[in-house]
Structures are given as structure tokens and as C-alpha cells.
Amino acid sequence: MSDFINKIVMIALIFIMLVLSPLLISYKIDDAVAKRTILNEVSQFIDKVKHTAIVTEEDLNKLYIACNASGLSVDVKVKRLVRADINKDGKIETVHYAVDDLDGLEDINYGDVIKVTVTEIGISTSRRLMYNILRIDEGKFEFSLAGTVG
């Protein structure tokens, strides 16, 4: 009986060590590289907009393609935030108006903020399992970066 249990344990261990472990390590490294690639693409885009103060349709397309070419399926939102002060019952408050249509993005004024939000879409079942059961995944990948044009 113990011989049989030994064999079963051995097979399970072989499966874990030779199949599951390399897969997990490879997945985790690919995931890390993809995240860093997206971060670099987004920061490059912000740096460009900071310098040129203009966002064209071509720039947006390039950003979407570059982010999605990293290996993750992501949605990218680009917003321009215009700083303004309003009088609210005699108290002056600073607010930021968000503009995300292409016309509003084409000519950005110096001092405006450009914000990029990246959200992962279409997470695979295996990743969902890894997040819910093994807890070695961070779940939906989402982050923002914002820079001031000037």
C-alpha cells in the first residue's frame, strides 16, 4: 500500500516540479516584462506630449498598439486635465476639467496635465485562478501616469 502511495506522490511531484513550476516562472517573468514595457511606453508618450504639447490621432494609435503588443490586452485612456479655480459660495476651489476627445487633445496649453490610464481587459481563466486560489497574481493590471505640459 505504502509503495503505491509513494508512486502517486512521486508522479505528483514530477508533475509539479517539471511542468507546473517552469510554466509559473515563465508566466510571471513574461507578465513582469509586459508591465514594464507598458510603463515605458506610457512614460515615453507623456514625455513626448510634455515637449510638443500636442496629441495626434497617430500618437494615440501608436500608444494603443505599443501597449497591446506587450502581451497583455489593455485599454488605454488619454485625458487632458485643465486646471481652473471656481468660486463656490465665496470659497475659491481648484478643480481640474477632464477633456478626452481628440479635438481637445490636439492643442494642449502649457501647464495642462496629460493623464494616461491603462486598464487590463480580458483576463484569462488561468490567471483568474492564479489570483483567486494561489494568490500569486495581482489581479487586473491597472495604473495611471500623469505629467504636466511645460
Binding site: 505504502s2 509503495d3 509513494n6 508512486k7 506522490v9 512521486m10 511531484l13 509539479i16 516540479m17 513550476s21 509559473l24 516562472i25 510571471k28 517573468i29 507578465d31 513582469a32 508591465k35 514594464r36 510603463l39 512614460s43 507623456i46 510634455k50 515637449h51 510638443t52 500636442i54 486635465l81 481648484t94 481640474h96 501647464g111 496635465v113 493623464k115 490610464t117 500569486i136 495581482e138 491597472e142 495604473f143 495611471s144 501616469l145 500623469a146 505629467g147 504636466t148 511645460g150
Partner: protein, 326 residues
């Protein structure tokens, strides 16, 4: 044989545990690496936004043309830094969130031509009785040689001296006092700022969080690329950011900016075959004798893109020349 099988299994289980531990550590390192890179970017962008807001230019002609005319005003710069950090981390711009970001600001220094501002922890006993971050009054760059005290303006290279007997000397011409070089002044001011950063971080540690001070300002650019403070600039140190990751990021994020002279784009016309052709090049590329004779300057632009939009073409003959303004 059966015993050997069991021994191998136990050995394999131990190996697997070791590998699992290594794997979990790897995932933590990879996640932390991303969070750290993102924090660095966020601090960089927020510091830049803060610095843009503090600059005041006395010269109403072209912006950034006269480096001596730049003044720094702290104003609401801390608020702008916190707002930008909120944008970078998708936090609502609210006092509570701003406070969370404030808690991770180890120090911030705004250096000017003749002094600097530093972030200080101030106890506010009028409201809830809490510690708040506020800019200090301007601290002048001072040097004490034992018998005299000197205050410097590092950009205009001017100085004032208070001797031991209380006499004040303030020459109008540029240059440093005899025996004191520009390098010595840079060494003194960087040492003074480093000392103040150290004192303020110690104060913050006594009041609230623990910041580990591991930063120094060199007198000249180091091999690792750390620049000294040598004029208008900003320096931000963030440590212990709780909002940036699942776990607190303990490492220091440093970001700094300084004012450099901007090279504008000059739009001009040149007569070729009797026709005025529109061209552009950078400031400092034209021969001074050719201005208003060969080339008629029409306008200045911030970048080549705007010049191209106004239908000016690059003057390849001039564009390859060295920019002499810097």
C-alpha cells in the same frame, strides 16, 4: 527499494518547498520592481509640475532666456505636488489623500540664486493639533571662515560680508571675495543644504515616521551621476510610500530639476534668387554679422514643430552648426 523511494520523495518535497519559497520571493521582487519604477516616474512628473509652478521670470520678453532673472516662489507648490501624485495614483484629490502623500515626503528643497527653501514639519495647534508640512523661510547660502560671515548669490556671483566687528561689505561688481572660488561656494552651499536636509529628516523622525537618511549632495557631479545644486532647482526625496504598492516601499525615490537656458527656434527669411524664403534654425547658430543683413529674423518659437506649422523650413546649412548659446 521502498525505503529509497520514500527518502527520495521526502527530499523532493523539501526541494519543492525551497523552490516555492524562491518563487514567491521572485514574484515579490518583480512586483516591487514595477511599483518602484512607477513611483520613480510619478515622483519625477510631480516634481517637474511643482517646479514649473514655482518659477517666476522677470524678463517679459522670451521665457527662460535670462537665467539670472529667474525667481522662485514656493506659493502653492506643495499642494501641486500632492495633487499630481493623486493623479498618478488614481486617488481623488482630497485632503486625506494629500495627507497620505505628505507622510511619505522625506524632504523637499527649492534652491534659488541666493538661498533655499526646505520643507519643515510644523505643529499646527490651531486646528486638530497635527503636524503639517510647510516651506521654511528662505535660508541664505552662508559661509563662515571663522572671522567673517559671507552670503552668496551663486548665479550672479555676488556676495555680502559681515565681519567680526559687525561691519557689512557688499560690493556691486560681480565675482567672489579673494581666496574664495566658485567651487568652494558650491561645496559650501551643498554642504549647507545636506546638513539642513539631515536636520529636517531628524525632526520628522522625532515626530512621526522613520526616514532613513542615505543621501548626500556632492560639490561636483559624481561618477554615479549625482549633480550638485548650483542654482535654481528642486530636489524631492520620497520614502515609505504606503499608497504605491501592496506593501510599503522602503527605498528612497529621488527626483531633481534645475533651470537651464532654453534654446528657442528663430524663424527668419533669406533672399534666394530674389525671393524671400522662410527658414528656421536654433538661437546661437547664426553668425551675428548675418542677422538683419543676410537673414531677416521674423519670429521666435518654443519648438521646431510650431515653426514648421507656420510654414518655415529647416535651414540645413545653419542647423548643423554648433549652438553657441549654452
Amino acid at each position: 527499494m521502498r525505503v529509497w523511494g520514500a527518502i527520495f520523495n521526502i527530499f523532493a518535497v523539501l526541494m519543492m518547498l525551497l523552490m516555492s519559497f524562491a518563487f514567491l520571493n521572485l514574484t515579490r521582487v518583480l512586483d516591487r520592481d514595477f511599483d518602484q519604477a512607477r513611483l520613480n516616474k510619478a515622483v519625477e512628473y510631480s516634481t517637474e509640475a511643482t517646479f514649473i509652478n514655482t518659477l517666476e521670470i522677470e524678463d517679459i520678453g522670451l521665457d527662460y532666456t535670462d537665467i539670472e532673472a529667474i525667481e522662485i516662489n514656493t506659493g502653492n507648490s506643495l499642494d501641486i505636488f500632492e495633487t499630481m501624485m493623486c493623479f498618478n495614483y488614481d486617488l481623488s484629490v482630497h485632503e486625506e489623500n494629500k495627507k497620505l502623500i505628505e507622510d511619505s515626503v522625506a524632504t523637499m528643497v527649492l534652491s534659488c540664486n541666493d538661498g533655499f527653501y526646505i520643507i519643515q514639519d510644523i505643529y499646527n495647534d490651531t486646528g486638530k493639533g497635527e503636524y503639517l508640512l510647510r516651506w521654511s523661510p528662505k535660508i541664505p547660502y552662508l559661509y563662515d571662515d571663522g572671522s567673517n560671515k559671507y552670503a552668496f548669490n551663486v548665479v550672479k556671483q555676488k556676495w555680502a560680508k559681515v565681519s567680526g566687528s559687525g561691519d557689512i561689505e557688499m560690493p556691486l561688481e560681480e565675482g567672489y571675495p579673494p581666496g574664495i572660488s566658485h567651487d568652494k561656494v558650491l561645496e559650501v552651499l551643498n554642504e549647507q543644504i545636506t546638513r539642513n536636509i539631515y536636520v529636517e529628516i531628524e525632526n520628522r523622525n522625532a515626530n512621526r515616521d522613520i526616514f532613513q537618511y542615505k543621501f548626500f549632495l556632492p560639490a561636483e557631479t559624481t561618477r554615479a551621476g549625482v549633480n550638485p545644486i548650483s542654482g535654481p532647482g528642486i530636489l524631492t526625496l520620497i520614502q515609505g510610500a504606503r499608497f504605491a504598492s501592496k506593501e510599503m516601499i522602503g527605498t528612497v525615490s529621488v527626483s531633481g530639476y534645475k533651470v537651464v537656458e532654453k534654446v528657442n527656434v528663430v524663424a527668419f527669411t533669406e533672399k534666394i534668387d530674389g525671393v524671400d524664403k522662410k527658414f528656421y534654425c536654433y538661437e546661437g547658430q547664426m553668425d551675428i554679422d548675418d542677422i538683419d543683413t543676410k537673414y531677416k529674423v521674423k519670429n521666435y518659437y518654443r519648438d521646431t514643430r510650431t515653426a514648421a506649422k507656420e510654414e518655415y523650413s529647416p535651414h540645413f546649412g545653419l542647423m548643423t552648426k554648433k549652438i553657441t548659446k549654452r
